[in-house]
Subunit: 412 residues, 2 copies
Amino acid sequence: MPELVLRNVRPWGGAAVDLRVAGGRITSMFPHDADDPRALTGAPDTVFVDGRGLLGLPGFVNAHAHLDKSWLGLPWVSYGGEATTEGRIRHERAHRDELGIPSVATTTTLLTKMVSLGTTAFRSHVDVDLGVGLDGIRHVRDAVAGIGAPVGLEVVAFPQDGVLRRPGVLDLLDRAAAEGADHIGGLDPASIDRDPVGQLDALFGIADRRGVGVDIHLHDGGELGAFQYELIVERTRALGLAGRVNIAHGFAIGDVQAVRQRALVEAVADAGITITTVAPVNAPRLPLTELREAGVSVGLGTDGIRDLWGPYGDGDMLRLATRMAQLAGWRRDEDLEAAVRIASSDAAPFVGREVHDLVVGAAADVVLVDAANVQEALVEAPPRQLVISGGVVVVDALSGGEQGGRAARPVL
Amino acid sequence: MPELVLRNVRPWGGAAVDLRVAGGRITSMFPHDADDPRALTGAPDTVFVDGRGLLGLPGFVNAHAHLDKSWLGLPWVSYGGEATTEGRIRHERAHRDELGIPSVATTTTLLTKMVSLGTTAFRSHVDVDLGVGLDGIRHVRDAVAGIGAPVGLEVVAFPQDGVLRRPGVLDLLDRAAAEGADHIGGLDPASIDRDPVGQLDALFGIADRRGVGVDIHLHDGGELGAFQYELIVERTRALGLAGRVNIAHGFAIGDVQAVRQRALVEAVADAGITITTVAPVNAPRLPLTELREAGVSVGLGTDGIRDLWGPYGDGDMLRLATRMAQLAGWRRDEDLEAAVRIASSDAAPFVGREVHDLVVGAAADVVLVDAANVQEALVEAPPRQLVISGGVVVVDALSGGEQGGRAARPVL
């Protein structure tokens, strides 16, 4: 991987800097100066990119993806399932084979779109069930490996079709954990598996034994969902899994009375549980301000995109951050910046990184957009002028960025 | 205005057609055939555009705009108001002068952005108050007249700062109606003016006397809002104003119990009242499916964009239609198409048109996007490849669309 010098970018809208990249990481960063020899020298194959004073952000982090599910790139698939979680599960199981899902090809199409839009690290749920076994995980890993640039990936082995109600799935999850999945997933222990204690005990048992994380889809609302929040809190505490357990969706915390919500927020914060949201517009709104004030790490993800669950999703994390900020009712500058940070730098823990930002030592994941400040980047979600993932230029709309003939050759 | 021939476009994703435009209207439309003489002939100044088989939609209709309020194009304005309607009104009145709002210049900037994204007709509320008087209406009309293409405009004289509580505003509204405003507006008769019956009687009095429409901002929720729905229904019926009265926002109908909601939907339908929404994600969701099933005309609008009420808004009606569809929980193909129709053809009545579609006799307002079908156009909201408003090409990203040297010269 050749060295890269990125010149004249404004990290988070601040003063312009130059930065040098080697081995996929940012190795130095200093004020932009056209004549600074540190930005002018390099090995014969060093790539120089002129950032033209654009606003620089770290790559976006998609903390809740389903990289295995999409039919993007295939002819349009009309939605035909029933309007319930169970109906959608059935619909997906009935039709995925005819679409060739999961596969490396479909995952690559989706991944290409999202990386092009600046997402450089993913936590992806990948279906694990009696039909596909662990094939989906292999497909997703192969697709990520084949994209042409280092892209961050954490895999959640996700029992989309249920756990206890499908004998054999627990063994699959256990094997996935043994074979390197970063987390095991769960799904509505009450409404799908009909045994909240049973599913959670089984999942936490594997997590404890294998040393992996837990990342549970919890759609159940109201008191039923709140009860499962409590069960998850209890097990996280008992097993000392602070920082290793995530609740995805978790609508219930937005669906109970204020005093109950406050207690749940405190319990989640105290247990060190994180929350991921896909910023849905037709579900109870999470108390994002309260969660952040309590110190809960909140991650943002796209959920599935154009799959058998529904036709939506453009894969743009910046636009999704706009929607999340609107859902939260945020309007002040510091809140708008916080929304972009949730979608990028603050999401480091969701993809197993210590740090993820435009700082020395971090992975060289950089997105450039034409915006006066980070607030404008959020509300406008402008086209991505440059995307660098792990030190490799994947998108370069800055024509003529060459210097001395050593131009970037974008891989996408 | 020269004739225009638009070739090889797929209206609503159907079979490719050619269409001819004269005097700003679609004068003929026939199956696309490379050798059809009807598509090859014209006066010396006839403009020919090759639509390349792209998907064609009618221009979008923004049924709830505030063309006078935006600071778009000025340096970023940090939001500083309080988080209430009253707080935001105060904030706007305190700061608009220093930003030069309202003005032809700021309106033109916003309008240019929205027309570029394919909106070709607007119903715009324009602030009328003791500070600006009727100046804002003049600015908006001047900006629209200066945009370089025929753009549809209906003006609502909007008492943003209140009606009864500001003696003199009723006279301004009456004058606005006398001088050509299409509608007079209102604002939360209960929570802002503190006299729902008084405000509504006064507004309906002017509408009745001057023969203009009524378009009322109603944010009030729950039973307070529902009561004002009833007051509006009663006055609409009493004065025979079916089809002339619109409730904007109207959160209350999404905020009451199911049985009460059903009664309100029926009353609104029966009285011939229309509803406009800006598809807000942090307010009670309107029962869009139920309203449509009851035959209520629903219009979609952007609301204010980057103004002293908040920093959001990218002006893209197609993307807004996506959000509306998601709010409504629509996933089936026919519902996705319905969402695009709400944002375009179905909105004809909101801008005083009999018909607004890709049909002979309609205004030649055309948007081309690269999408397989209208559903994909909705979920992806792709870049606008061509925008024609009133027969004039305003955006043309189809380089090389020339034929015989008579290329379109886009005005924006």
